[in-house]
Symmetry: C2
Subunit: 525 residues, 2 copies
């Protein structure tokens, strides 16, 4: 079994963190409380195939039939021209594009199977693909909530606080989009303010929405400025990522294609994720929804490779089911888990990094939120997920980012990371001598073997209350969500901005202010 990589913090950085105090706090407050070090997670457990190789081939071939016989509607004219130039069947006067299997397979073979995602703090660089795991904070919620103030529309103050929580917690490797949509900022300039915040409030890699050419180009320039590298270096070093959701079924719209064109041509990461809810935008059978997911993902990924051979991409799976009574999406269900495992098999078949998600349909941070999320994480891990989106904060099928759920999920993710850390199987750990010393009927609590190890022997949970019932009841019988509420407030209070070079900050501010003065980006999306 492969060992997880050790912490990648450079010594000076780690020293600062250990020392705590002002310098330690400069690491974004990550040293203000006990938590596992930032590290590149790896999954030492082989992903589990849910279906046989033959069955996988049936799905693969059915997807290729969809692409050849039915095709996809591509609303973006330049994209159709690029596709035609690469041999796709594009007929004048229609938006329908059909693809030959050989063409698709030749194109996607250029996609790298593993690459580095660069952060402005190199200690926060992470690997995408292989057996690497990246946890990305929740993104794109229209609302946020906490148990003190309830549920409310997204706004800049909450956006910033949630981004800060993402920065502070080592288990979150990437800021995966706006944790909550700050609707109090005008849409023309919202991306500029938010992307600036990503650079200033965090030093981890981040995400830009594909909502038209200008926003992608602004994102690319802001990420480049943040990293302090020239463009020719930036295009060789993936540092920014975007999610491309197809308009299922089988439609690729203008902002999405524009996103692929700008991001891929600049060497940045495009994760193509069809939104295939079985019974709504995809067939009611999980197999059929997977056929459609795969067709749409292959079309988007192939297009990225047309734009730039070798462009870094991800294969995204988001197939779940809906409540057939109401049409509401369901998450963390058995059907979702099956789709997660088969999605992983498909991504690995094409040797492309696999994106999946930690999601739930619960409306509050109760048992349902927890079991749906752990079922999702189970599917993520047993399915061999590389990029786990919405890893912390997701509630209500994505309509709310919860402060308490953020902390709860951080605990869940830390537990998953600990589960995936190999066992010490040294002679001393096998403990035959300790067992001999204690002997039948003895107790290990006070032994030297225990004393030498007890402080670090086990994962220390953030939320779990292990007190006995009587002590717990005497202290007011707090539930998990109450503890999570206290913790996010305590932790947020210790946040400080991570260090940034003053020249970088000036360049960033100058760019953002100029673009705001220019009016930002069109709002007709």
């Amino acid at each position: 079994m492969t060992a997880a990589l050790p912490a990648t913090e450079p010594t000076a950085h780690a020293e600062r963190a250990r020392r705590g105090g002002r310098a330690g706090k400069r690491a974004g407050g990550a040293a203000a409380f006990d938590q596992p070090v930032f590290r590149q997670l790896r999954n030492p457990l082989k992903p589990t195939p849910f279906i046989s190789e033959d069955e996988l081939e049936h799905i693969h071939l059915a997807s290729l039939r969809v692409l050849k016989e039915i095709g996809v509607d591509v609303l973006h004219e330049e994209a159709r021209r690029i596709m035609k130039a690469h041999g796709a069947d594009v007929r004048d006067g229609t938006e329908r594009v059909r693809f030959d299997a050989d063409m698709i397979l030749e194109l996607i073979a250029h996609a790298p199977s593993e690459f580095t995602l660069h952060a402005r703090n190199p200690a926060h660089n992470v690997q995408l693909g292989g057996d690497n795991i990246i946890f990305s904070q929740m993104a794109s919620a229209p609302n946020c909530s906490d148990t003190d103030r309830g549920r409310r529309a997204g706004n800049q103050a909450d956006f910033r606080n949630l981004v800060r929580l993402g920065q502070m917690h080592n288990i979150l490797h990437v800021t995966g989009g706006y944790p909550v949509e700050p609707v109090d900022i005008h849409p023309a300039v919202r991306h500029l303010e938010c992307l600036r915040d990503f650079v200033l409030l965090t030093d981890k890699a981040f995400h830009a929405y594909s909502l038209g050419r200008e926003r992608n180009l602004d994102g690319i320039e802001i990420a480049r400025i943040g990293r302090g590298v020239p463009m020719e270096q930036f295009v060789r070093e993936p540092s920014l990522l975007t999610i491309i959701n197809t308009n299922s079924p089988l439609k690729l719209d203008i902002p999405m294609m524009e996103g692929i064109i700008q991001m891929a041509s600049h060497g940045q990461v495009v994760i193509v994720t069809p939104f295939t809810l079985a019974g709504a935008m995809a067939p009611v059978t999980v197999a059929g929804a997977l056929v459609q997911q795969n067709a749409e993902a292959l079309a988007g990924i192939a297009f990225a490779q047309m734009v730039k051979q070798g462009a870094p991409v991800g294969y995204g799976g988001f197939t779940s089911n809906v409540d057939m009574k109401s049409g509401a999406p369901a998450f963390g269900t058995p059907e979702y888990m099956k789709a997660q495992l088969v999605g992983g098999q498909l991504a690995r078949r094409y040797k492309i990094p696999y994106r999946t998600s930690n999601v739930c349909a619960a409306n509050s941070v109760d048992a349902q939120a927890a079991y749906e999320s752990v079922f999702s994480l189970w599917g993520c891990m047993q399915g061999g997920g590389n990029f786990i989106k919405h890893a912390a904060g997701w509630l209500e099928g994505g309509l709310t980012c919860s402060y308490e759920k953020t902390i709860l999920d951080i605990d869940l993710l830390q537990m998953v990371a600990e589960f995936l850390t190999p066992l010490d199987l040294s002679e001393a750990a096998l403990a035959v001598d300790a067992i001999r010393d204690v002997g039948p009927g003895g107790h290990f609590f006070g032994t030297q073997h225990t004393q030498d190890r007890y402080k670090t022997a086990f994962y220390q949970p953030v939320i779990s209350d292990w007190r006995n019932y009587e002590t717990w009841a005497e202290h007011g019988a707090p539930t998990a969500v109450e503890k999570a509420n206290r913790i996010w407030k305590d932790r947020l209070a210790s946040y400080e901005e991570p260090y940034i070079d003053p020249a970088t900050r000036d360049e960033l501010n100058a760019f953002v202010e100029r673009r705001i003065a220019e009016g930002g980006a069109p709002t007709d999306f």
Copy 2:
């Protein structure tokens, strides 16, 4: 991938269930509400090795060193005599017994790798071992609780209600012991009342505690009467099970050895489960705790084979960690999951059915209870568990059986079972024609492909609330535990006793009344 077996309900039984009404209700009320049919579950996914074959061998060899160099204290004189007769190193005047590796391996090789556990209703027979899964209701809680009446000491009324819930739910295959200890029944006769209830209130296989010779023999006779078979048939057909918890570290007490002697000699099932909490009764390292678990399990299983070659046994793992601040046991932790996966590897190495558990440390049915339980179930399934004890109801590290947790767990187990049900990958399920009919930009909701399947396409959850936030809030924002509370009351109200042959009932009552009149069993355990 292996298909799950279809429902094993004989046609007449299934017909009754479908018809509902009086006859349907006679099936223990299982037909009073919608639920998946009773079926033999199988795990089509290969268990995941957590450590390499070489590493597994290190644990195996270290355990054999423990058994040879340190040995175990055996408090039961006849057991020591039996061990000596089989070649163990037993010295006069001491309780210490040491075992050679070859002797242990030769003995455990006689244990069957798979066998049938017989219920008094043959439709409820289940297979133990191989890739089969059995879910067994929670057992042995001193307290029970529900959100209406709070937490209270176990009593007969709650014992019976919880047993009824176990009977009614098809996902629970076995009654695994007293869900709650009915302390209002005198200990001398408690086992007689409870075992009679197991026969009358359920028609599934059940468990008898190993608390002295008389209780085991009473359990065997009551199970035999319930099945209505002669003893020579009963000893060939495992129908009753017992859990043997070693007194970790390395001690085998009198009731436990007596239990092995009586149960194994009568061909009934002995599941040997060391209670090895790392840092307390076992080394603080997970590897060391596993070495000790394995040594103790092998000693108990080998002893069962000395009593009767080929006696049906299970390999139990219960290794978890403790809170090193308080000594409180922790469950559903990353360390527990690791131990679950390695425990499964050890059991499979010896080709013995593997018992593991659905446990948590939470004090209420909140997010913690849910995530610890799903982590446990994840470890159970990825670890290849065959007999999942405490599958529904467990709270507070086993100190309470909760009515709401029982319902929540039933939902979790049903979801796990659905996750493990193979995908339909037929041409119709792959749905290329349905995708063609809908075309880009369409919707699948009203199509024939959807209409033909939507009623049974997806698992219908018991607890999960999939309404949108506004509707959910208008209806009082119920949490999962509130819904669970309503459901157990609704369901319990529809319970009816399963059919029993009047002659069997008479024989059972006559036996129990005679044994009660005789004073039951000694209470000096």
